[in-house]
């Protein structure tokens, strides 16, 4: 679901076909019929943005028919845990959970806690959301004060146990409701339910694959939660052939999350400290519970080892390991917020390191206007991309909104070395690091990012060498003494040396560390990314392991290195039953060897090696020693998988169907229309199309969605310049159904333009039955699909599809809702120049779009005081100021 694997990850898809050849049934549930659908046993089209309604229907089907893998669910999930009496579900609050604050649009999660579990520290929920708290908990799992001593009911009958809460929450997600919301027939829906639930139990598993078709929604994290709940109910996590598999879209996007170039994280999913943290102790206590279970309890070891790698000998116990050198965050510093700050004149310099936001980020116009209002911009890329030349080829040149002679931004273009001209590791989508050898030297001024950043840092340190300013100490004290190769003033830094320091070193012996379990908080170890500790175990670069697949078993542990500890299936303790025996011979992966007193198997066991299955920790025990023998989820504070999330997810402890920010449909389940915690930015330069209960939505009556082609890569910087790929996919097109083509007078291969309140985009029409009109609650809804790879540069060019989108974000991840919006489509080409601006203004006038449109996020009708929510059904209508979306504005109304 939410993935077109055959086209977006074609070589990975060979394994799906291999499984199919061995008898697996392949189901594809996705709005459009694609090559993935063509190769699947069954394709089920659904409306873009309705996946939680579908998945909730599956959950309801499982629970109503007792189809869960009960032994697994009872032992390995929090199904039996009791939730406190204060918790109120969406069923009783018209789509809100208890703890909602309509003023800030955020939840206080204190009423979602387990009974007997110590309540979470009272955190201001606004702050919690703005720092993308859900993602902060990445590898640590959300904090719980206590992992032992939670009240449970092993019969799963108690009305406040998670199992019963789950049942009630999804009880109205019936096949009829799925049909009305998603446009999926009851027969198709039940066929999916039957197939999915049959791949469950001791002998069978099912794997669930998703991609950005799930993440890029205003409730994307909840889509994935919903999928994970199903996989847990069916016992499909931690087992061979199971799992929830995120297919990521860039060579090292997993690596750039693990070793993050992200505002809210430090390496290894340690949160960035914020202004609340006076010192390191404060910080550690706020990210892990004093009595919690598992390896996250040792967070102090991880942060101290990182600080020792950052600041070397300057970091000592006496100076708190220079925790004070870390800059503090205090809100949303994500890329979209930053771009708005550029427009508002608050950001002065911008580095683009292998990324092309003028084409590749949502709301391209916002991106380009931001870049046009900087002191300076650095672009490092293989080729000349749109983001480097916005001052002379942006669409805003034609409309007169940007002119080179009046654009003050100074632009530096640095040519980059390619993947074969430098060595280092990528981390692929299953957490596996693979080392690339350098094939040859780059030419001219082409350099690696390693070179660029290393020498920029060296020059900055030289310029500040005599500074006495306290603010320069972190830079001057930085451990920046990486080994280099070659002579002269500008030698190439050694990627191998950087990887060694990421792995970690015992500072008393100088030896490389073998495992994160060797890290300490006494300053005697330094490691740049604790989850990568072990990649250099035994002094060997395991990312460079290349034993041929024909010379090892199918787990292939000798190819590359997967974090943590080279485990290939996370939480694989769950592949054995509570007594430590494989659930079945067919599905054996890891098991307890009683004779040797240790866990063993085909994979590296993801569990304390010698903790026996029957082990019970003492009450109040903490850390890895508090893990019971049947606590497979070793990074979770309670050792169990969370069907219900008492913390860590900021927009609800359970997934709930809300309509997308822009939708032609009212929410048929609750008065609450969209996600009440979604992040909206009501600005003149970021208009929204109206959605119920606002009027005017009929001006943009169609559902818009976009995705990749096989032959191009995201914003096209690595594909539109290549003759082969440009020939294979030469032009932007828009897929519409024959029925929509007839309704709007669209001719196959002729021009049409797609319109939103942000932009109009030209494309060739492709009339195809791959797009199916959906019957939803008695009405027909059309969907429109576009690939998004084109821009003004390259061997093949075209309009920027991302210009159609606005900025509205998932509050957990601060990722934009770009997989669904509403639009209009008309035959012929769009107007050009100033006429285009007039044309869009006229659309907004007709739809009644103002800066307030879409910002009144609370629409639930509830009087329950514990929700603290008031009814707000204000439809901005056509009153108020018109949105002109011209130039820049400092007006902003964050809801």
């Amino acid at each position: 679901m939410g993935s077109n694997m055959a086209e977006a990850h074609p070589v990975g898809f060979q394994w799906v076909m291999e499984a199919k050849a061995r008898g697996a049934k392949v189901l594809h549930i996705d709005p459009r019929f694609t090559r993935t659908s063509a190769l699947a046993d069954k394709h089920v089209p659904l409306r873009a943005g309705s996946d939680i309604a579908f998945l909730g229907g599956v959950i309801n089907h499982i629970l109503s028919n007792d189809l869960d893998f009960r032994e697994y669910v009872r032992a390995y999930t929090n199904a039996s845990f009791l939730v406190g009496e204060e918790f109120v579900d969406t069923e009783d609050l018209d789509g809100l959970f208890s703890g909602y604050d309509p003023e800030t649009g955020t939840y206080d999660t204190s009423t979602w806690q387990y009974e007997n579990g110590f309540p979470e520290d009272s955190v201001e929920s606004e702050r919690h959301r703005e720092q993308s708290a859900g993602e902060q908990h990445g590898s640590g799992g959300p904090k719980l004060e206590s992992g032992t001593g939670i009240a449970t009911d092993q019969t799963l009958e108690h009305p406040r146990c998670v199992f019963q809460i789950l049942k009630r929450h999804f009880s109205r997600y019936t096949p009829e409701m799925v049909e009305r919301i998603c446009g999926v027939s009851r027969e198709d829906f039940l066929e999916v339910c039957r197939a999915w639930t049959s791949a469950s139990g001791r002998e069978h598993t099912a794997a669930l694959v998703y991609s950005v078709g799930w993440t890029q929604h205003s409730m994307g994290a909840q889509y994935i939660r919903a999928g994970a709940i199903i996989q847990l109910l069916l016992g499909n996590i931690g087992r061979p052939g199971g799992g929830v598999l995120a297919l990521r879209g860039h060579a090292s996007i997993q690596g750039s999350t693990d070793i993050p170039t992200l505002y809210n994280l430090l390496p290894g999913y340690l949160p960035m400290p914020d202004a609340r943290h006076a010192d390191k102790r404060d910080y550690v206590e706020s990210i892990r519970g004093t009595h919690q279970k598992g390896y996250w309890h040792n967070a102090d070891d991880y942060i101290v080892s990182l600080l020792k790698e950052y600041w070397g000998e300057a970091a000592t116990e006496e100076n708190d390991y220079r925790f004070d050198y870390l800059p503090r965050i205090d809100g949303d510093h994500g890329t979209y917020r930053t771009v708005m700050d550029m427009i508002d004149g608050k950001v002065f310099g911008y580095f683009l390191l292998g990324q092309n936001p003028a084409v590749g980020s949502a709301h391209g116009r916002l991106q380009r206007l931001g870049m046009a209002n900087l002191d300076w911009l650095v672009v490092r890329d293989l080729t000349m991309i749109e983001s480097a030349e916005f001052w002379r080829n942006a669409p805003e040149i034609e409309t007169g909104e940007i002119t080179a002679e009046q654009c003050r931004t100074e632009v530096f273009f640095f040519p980059a070395a390619s993947h074969v001209e430098k060595e280092g590791t990528f981390t692929q989508t299953q957490r596996m690091l693979q080392w690339r050898d350098r094939a040859l030297e780059p030419r001219g001024d082409q350099r690696s990012e390693l070179w660029f950043i290393y020498h920029l840092g060296r020059i900055l340190r030289r310029k500040l060498a005599t500074s006495t300013d306290e603010r320069d100490r972190p830079l001057l004290d930085l451990a920046w003494d990486y080994r280099t190769e070659g002579d002269g003033e500008f030698p190439e830094p050694s990627a191998d040396d950087v990887l060694r320091r990421i792995n970690g070193v015992d500072l008393t012996t100088g030896e490389l560390l073998d495992s994160y379990q060797q890290l300490t908080s006494d300053g005697t170890t330094a490691a740049g990314c604790w989850i990568y500790s072990g990649v250099y175990a035994g002094g060997v670069n395991h990312a460079r392991n290349r034993t041929a697949r024909t010379e090892q078993d199918e787990t292939a542990l000798e190819w590359g290195w997967a974090w943590p500890a080279n485990r290939r299936v996370l939480y694989n303790r769950a592949s054995a039953d509570p007594q430590g025996r494989p659930w079945s011979e067919r599905k054996k992966l890891v098991w307890w060897d009683a004779e040797r007193g240790e866990w063993t198997g085909h994979d590296v066991p993801d569990f304390p090696k010698t903790t026996p299955p029957e082990f019970e920790p003492e009450y109040g025990e903490a850390g890895p020693g508090a893990l019971a023998g049947d606590d497979p989820f070793i990074m979770q504070a309670d050792g169990k998988a969370w069907l219900f999330a008492p913390s860590g997810v900021v927009d609800g402890p359970l997934p709930t169907h809300y309509e997308p920010h822009e939708s032609p449909m009212p929410n048929l389940l609750y008065g609450q229309q969209g996600s009440p915690a979604r992040k909206v930015y009501g600005r003149e330069d970021n208009p929204s199309n109206p959605a119920p209960p606002e009027g005017g939505g009929d001006v943009f009556p169609f559902v818009f969605t976009a995705a990749r082609l096989t032959e191009h890569h995201t914003a096209g910087g690595m594909s539109r310049q290549l003759a082969y790929l440009s020939e294979l996919q030469p032009a932007l097109f828009v897929e519409v159904s024959p029925q929509l083509a007839a309704e709007r007078g669209l001719e196959n291969l002729d021009w049409a333009h797609v319109v939103t309140s942000r932009a109009a985009v030209d494309a060739r029409v492709l009339v195809t039955e791959r797009m199916r009109p959906l019957r939803l609650d008695g009405r027909v809804v059309h969907q429109v699909w576009m690939p998004y790879h084109w821009g003004p540069s390259g061997k093949v060019d075209g309009d920027v599809v991302n210009d159609l989108l606005g900025v509205v974000l998932d509050p957990n991840t601060m990722i934009q809702e770009s997989k669904v919006a509403t639009c209009d489509i008309r035959p012929g080409r769009r107007p050009r120049g100033c006429e285009l601006l007039e044309y869009l203004a006229e659309y907004r006038r007709r739809a009644g779009v103002t800066v307030e449109t879409g910002t009144h996020v609370v629409t639930a009708h509830t009087t329950a005081s514990d929700a603290a929510a008031t009814s707000d059904t204000t439809a901005p209508g056509s009153t108020g100021s018109h949105t002109t979306a011209q130039g820049t504005t400092d007006r902003e109304e964050d809801a």
């Binding site: 960035m272 503090r328 030297e441 840092g457 790929l725």
Partner: protein
Amino acid sequence: MGVSDWIRSWPVYRQLTGADRLGRGDAAASPQSREREPRTADADRVTASVCPYCAVGCSQNVYVGSDDGGERVLQIEGNPDSPISRGRLCPKGSASKQLVTGDHREERVLYRAPYGTEWQELDLPTALDMLADRVLDARRKGWQDTDADGKPLRRTQGIASLGGATLDNEENYLIKKLFTALGAVQIENQARI
């Protein structure tokens, strides 16, 4: 050519008398195709790499040779040893030789002055030095010692960065480390998108 040579040059003869009874290999080869060599034959060496496009992580063999213009990539192929890809590459991965050898690759630092209408060339050390001055300036302009309550922030909001998902782990590590030491917090990449 004698008669016997002429007969032996006939593919059907070779098919009937040789090992290639189905006529799908040697028996059917013409003299031209016999003389052809794969472009990888001239390679001085083969190095192991990984495809730079999506996150599947297909393994690549990079064939490097040299001519008057110096070393160059002759071919990039899938590596059959890989348990991930088994030697296969998609259209993008198969085109990656063009990605690294194409004439779209820029080789020189380019600079566009404020209000400028054209690029101009700049030498690399000069550009780096100019940039370092600008980094310090933007850092200073956006500097915040404390928040409204007097709590330390020790940061700048003057500098932002975007990118990393196409880069190496080691590169991301240095980017985050340097910018953190500078006090810059708006450090982002495609994972947010």
